[in-house]
């Protein structure tokens, strides 16, 4: 049996250590490489035959979501397993949307990790037990308002401190349009101004 080539991306040495230690016990796996940030991860992919990437959502530079997007865009054959602690469930749908093959909580057992890797390798979608019983699409969108992708995009740029005109320039749209999005964001978040909007967005982990 061919060994499955795994890459682990996490900025916590402990998690890296634990993962490699756990995975090295599984005979049919091969640790192709480890990375502590997105840059290193891309480097590993370029130089080794990575088949499954286990990516932590919290990375220092680019976050796991962006990295996943990048991997799936440039190397669609690589299966990505999102990994995070329990609290960051709000990111799951984003990861899945960006092409992740599964989601692992860091408290997952060896068996769960194994199952997740195998599922991913076979092209299936795997979700950790905790959230398996829950509908991914509905669950997350109940608390936070239903904002469109474009609105989320604008929201992110607002949080980055850009003005409407700068946002408009960046997205190649009219500043009037940005104002409209902004208006709708304020309504949807029931915020009266930018301050409240951003506070809520940060707390909802959107920005």
């Amino acid at each position: 049996m061919e060994k499955i080539n795994i890459m682990i991306v996490d900025d916590h040495p402990m998690v890296l250590e634990g993962m490699t230690s756990l995975l090295s016990k599984i005979t049919y796996l091969h640790i192709a490489g480890i990375a502590t940030n997105a840059f290193e991860a891309i480097d590993v992919i370029k130089n080794r035959a990575v088949e499954v990437a286990i990516v932590d959502i919290n990375l220092p530079d680019i976050n796991g979501i962006e990295l996943t997007k990048k991997i799936k865009t440039e190397y669609p054959a690589i299966k990505v397993l999102a990994m995070s602690t329990f609290k960051e469930r709000s990111y799951i749908s984003q990861m899945i949307q960006n092409g992740a093959s599964g989601y692992l909580v860091k408290s997952a057992s060896k068996e769960e990790i194994e199952e997740a890797i195998l599922s991913a390798y076979e092209g299936k979608l795997y979700l950790s037990m905790d959230i398996n019983t829950v509908d991914v699409n509905t669950q997350l969108n109940t608390q936070l308002p239903a904002i469109s992708t474009r609105e989320k995009e604008v929201l992110g740029l607002i949080a980055d401190g850009l003005t409407n005109q700068q946002i408009a320039a960046q997205l190649f749209i009219s500043s009037h349009t940005v104002e409209s999005h902004r208006k709708n964001l304020l309504i949807k978040f029931e915020a009266n101004n930018t301050a409240t909007l951003i506070k809520m967005a940060v707390k909802y982990n959107i920005v």
Copy 2:
């Protein structure tokens, strides 16, 4: 040289695995036991000669802070090292107050972990590099700018969505004064507008 008896308490198998793997490489350490929750931890303490306990702040049943308190009350000789991810810095002072001998971020290197254990064992207080330079009592102000209490007050009200005039009315000061505070906040946070200011404030746990 006598070996130092270590116990690790964490509900993440990966972290446990990583920790044991890392620590087993250090000759003068002995893993006396591991636990995935507070109950198991107490059990280990009762049956083994634990000298240093590394306790994750996030535990499923009782949290790490309570466990620390319990350990230090019933077994004051045991040194407790608090462990958490970067984000939960707000708990540090609570842990220290409950008798923890130090604080470890999970992204700590092998050397840092080693240093923390040795410091704890010797009865010293160890804090991870990130917060080392800071006075524990004045709380967690490392990277974040030195803002005055009044500024913090104003910042909180800005985050609550109040306008300068509303803030002025609430604090019984002129709106000009509020504008000044606001101006200074923007300078101190190196933010160009409210959006950036609030984003940073939330991330720094000020609001």
